[in-house]
Structure formats: structure tokens, C-alpha cells
Symmetry: D2
Subunit: 157 residues, 4 copies
């Protein structure tokens, strides 16, 4: 997929590291599909936006879903699965707007990754989530997150 | 799943056979998720409603997706896949309304099933679709539709 | 919509009141649209299922979204809006399964309604949510929940 | 929103004009939400992708949905509405892939716009659609498409 990166360089958002820490930022455009009859963005759309943010956060750290589930690198086939979410809906968003999903690692244990995700529109915070994910094998067993991936996610890559 | 049928008898809609022919009718409630900021039902929602109709149409004829994909009855694992759709959007629908998706067989060949699907609200036709589906093996090969299923779908069961 | 109720009596689920308290139960069938490539139900689908449950819970208490937003009964046009959700994903669900969404009032203040929602498959708890909703006017102002509705929701109707 | 364009220059895709004509190209990443339990992209997802393509095609021609529905420029509040779609599903797509939605004007009359949309993955054509849209006022009346917009869409801007 090297070609796609050169044609659409920002498609997976960007990893940023500066004074406010290491984070991933993904832009999200609001389309018809994301809104509801109230005229605003449908509340479950933010859950989808966060999943896009987590997917591209992992992708830019060298892991895509297909590689995980195919068991690339001799590892057991696996997928990251959401275990817990706490969601705060702060302000509404509307059609045509451009939002940004920012994803950071809050906490990591051998098997668990806790992420903080914020959706903003310019200076406004619209939505906040704390998301606990675990790596689960196809048989449903919780797996240790590989040392290499943990180091990279922890910003020590 | 026999229990569910007794608790929620209409959950998969109903097969009807009378003077206007053999058909399947599934009620669909319009929720927030189905609408968009225009205040009306989002156009792609009708495509989802039709898929629900086709799934329950097959289910009431004795076939669910899991049985097909697990290769039940000694058959090759397979799934019905949409090849072609023609969609007409006639009138809008709104939140809280109850629509009905009616599905009929228009045409059947050894490998192809052409269905007519109409979405109505009381006497009003809101949406019409003609949908061509084929049965495809997990390797991607088009399969013959089993004689028994064809007989049943054709109303000769 | 009286006609629809007689044709599809269970379409909005059922209000139940017995030893384990007053609650609303809505059956949900798992279709293609609810699953993802992992073979399981997509995590954000549960958020949609809960919204269906809340909508029908309110409907069976005499309030639909259109009446609220049209300002029926001389009230200011308004809509229930989600402010906070805590979600626990306990066990996976799969295509063709029948789940039940159970909704209860946990807490009510003048302007806030806290609901408990559980998704089950037979005896198994798959998903739990605690959802805080507020009634918001079209101008974005938080409104008091009308005394009548509060009494009904509180089981004193 | 000028700022967003400078930060994420490709977010709305690109207008291209060369030997194979004038067209709009939008990249689409496949996320969990777009797939179903078959392991492939859910068929209705292509309908959503096409709507994103049409929205950004109009946006890069100077029209967004909010301007239309707010009646900007002294025009009657309006929205483009889909009247007819013909869809061909040619090849499947999978999680993590990058597709491109290409949109062209096939035909224009005073009130109707017929668009051709193709979804590709590198050299492979996965999906084709012919989509008829009309401009409809909030009262539901079909409107003439403004001369300026017609000229621009027709590539004579």
C-alpha cells in the first residue's frame, strides 16, 4: 500500500509528538450518513469516528487489522477488542464540518490498552472517550500485547 | 431458536400467500439511526431495510446465513451475495414511522435469484428495488442454488 | 398509528412489571449490517440497539420523538439528547441471533434521566450500559422533564 | 473552513481534468464499520461511499449541503435528493484497503443531474453506480438547478 501513502499522504491522519505529548490526529468530515433528523451528528457516529482513529493510530504504529488477524510474524491470529468505553457528549456537530479525532495512550498493562480519545472542532471539545481494548485470539483468549508493539505504543519505539 | 419464535412471533415478519401472490412482509420502525439531517430517512437506509427483508425471507424458507456459511447439510459453505440493484426513491419517510418491506421472487435460474422489494407506509409506495443475488462459495465461485431451496422459494414447497 | 399496533403488536417491544421491577424489553435480530469482518457484532451496533430500546421505551410511555420535536401539547419543541454513556462489552454476538435490550430507569432528576440498559441472549448478559439523557430545546437549552412524563417513567403513571 | 483545507489538503478528494475527462476522486479507507461477517465490505457501504463522493464533488464545485439548505445567496432552501440508482457489485473489498470513488457528470437537464460513480482499488473496478439526483425545496418541490452551478458542474466554469 506504499503507493496509496504517496498519493493520499494524510489518509491515516498523523502521529504528532511535541510539548503536549505523543498523539495521533485523524480528520473526519461529517457526511449525511453521520447525522440524524435532529439536524446534528448522531451520537453513535462518534463511536465509529473513534474506531477509525484507533485503527489509524495502530496502522501508523505498524499494525493493521489484517496483519493481526492473519497472525503475521508468527504470532497467533488476533484482534483488538473493545471491553469498556466511557463517553461524554459535550457539544453538537453538524453536516459538512471537519472534526479531528485525537488518540493518546493513557495506560498499558501486559494485556490491556487504555486510550483517551477526544473529538474537537477547531478549539471546541465536542466529545471525549476513555476506551479499554484487549488483544483477543480467534479462540477468544486474551493475549499479551507483544513487547515490540507495547514499546512502540508507549512512545519508546 | 424455537423459543424466540414463541416469545416474539413476528420478529422475522410473515410469509403471505393470497390472490396477489406469495410474498414476505417485514415491518421496520424508523429510528434516529435511519434518518439524516434533512429530517427524512437517509437513502442508504432503504438498502439496509431490503437486506433485512431478504434475510428474513430466506429465514422463513428455512435458510439462515449461518447455516449457509457453515455449510450445513453437507453443502459447500456459501453466502448469498448481491450482484445488481436498481433502486427507485419515490416518497420520503420520517422518524417513528412504521414501514413494511415486501419481498417477492421475480425470477430464478440455476445460480441467480432476482427479487422485487417494495417499501410501503400504509397505502403509499416509498421505495422499489430489483435485486439480483447469487450464491457464492467461500472461494468466490458461483454455486447452483440447491433444488430444494429453489422449489421452496418458487412457492412449490 | 393504531393500525400498525394491531398488525404488528410487538414491534415496539413490551413494558413488563413484575418482581424484578418495571422495565422495557425490545427484541433485536442481528443482520449483516450489525456485524463486522471479525465475524461478530460490531461494537457500535450495541449503541444503536440501545437507542432503539430507549425510543420504544419512551414510545410505550406515550412519547415519540416527533411529538417532542413538534412541541405537541403546547410544550416547547425538544428532544432527548445523550450526555454520558458507560459501556461494558461482556460477550460477543453473531449473525442471525435474537438479542433482547432491557431498559430501566435508574435515576431521575428535574432535567436528567439515567437509564440502565442490558443486552442479553437467552440467559447470557452480552452488554451493559448506563446512559444519561437530558431534554434539550431546539435552541440547545436543557429543559425540565414534564411532571406527567416523570410520573409515568417513574412507574407511578 | 479555509484553515482545514490548509491543514488537511486532500480531505475532500481532488478534481482532475485530463485526457479521460473531468472527474472527482475521493479516497476511502475501509474500517471495521464498513465490513460484515462475511469478511468483506457490506454491500450498502458502497452506497455511503458514493454519497461521500457526491458531497465532496459538489463541495469542490463551491456548494456544500449547509449552504443549499440554508438558502445561501438568496436562493430557496434546498437539498439534492437521490431519485434513482443502478448499482453493479463487481469485486469484493476488505478491511484496511484504500479505495477510490470517482464521480463524473453523465447528463444534466434543468432539474436533473445524472452522475456516474466508480469505486476502484488500484487497477480493479469493484463497483459502479449511475445515480440520478434532483434539487428539491424544503416543501418537496423539484427546483431548477441554478445556471451558475450547472455551468460549473458541466466543466464550463
Amino acid at each position: 500500500m506504499a503507493a496509496d501513502t504517496s498519493v493520499w499522504p494524510d489518509l491515516s491522519g498523523r502521529l504528532i509528538e511535541d510539548d503536549s505529548g505523543r498523539r495521533h490526529v485523524l480528520p473526519v468530515r461529517i457526511y449525511f450518513e453521520d447525522t440524524d433528523f435532529s439536524g446534528l451528528v448522531y451520537h453513535a457516529s462518534y463511536v465509529r469516528f473513534c474506531e477509525r482513529g484507533r485503527s489509524d493510530f495502530l496502522r501508523l504504529h505498524g499494525n493493521d487489522h489484517r496483519a493481526l488477524i492473519d497472525g503475521a510474524g508468527g504470532r497467533e491470529p488476533a484482534a483488538f477488542v473493545v471491553r469498556r468505553m466511557t463517553l461524554e457528549f459535550l457539544k453538537p456537530a453538524r453536516i459538512d464540518e471537519v472534526l479531528e479525532v485525537t488518540t493518546r495512550v493513557r495506560e498499558m498493562t501486559a494485556a490491556t490498552l487504555v486510550l483517551e480519545q477526544v473529538v474537537t472542532r477547531g478549539p471546541d471539545r465536542l466529545f471525549e472517550a476513555v476506551v479499554t481494548v484487549v488483544l483477543v485470539s480467534q479462540a477468544g483468549k486474551v493475549l499479551r500485547i507483544a513487547e515490540g508493539l507495547r514499546r512502540v505504543l508507549g512512545g519508546k519505539g
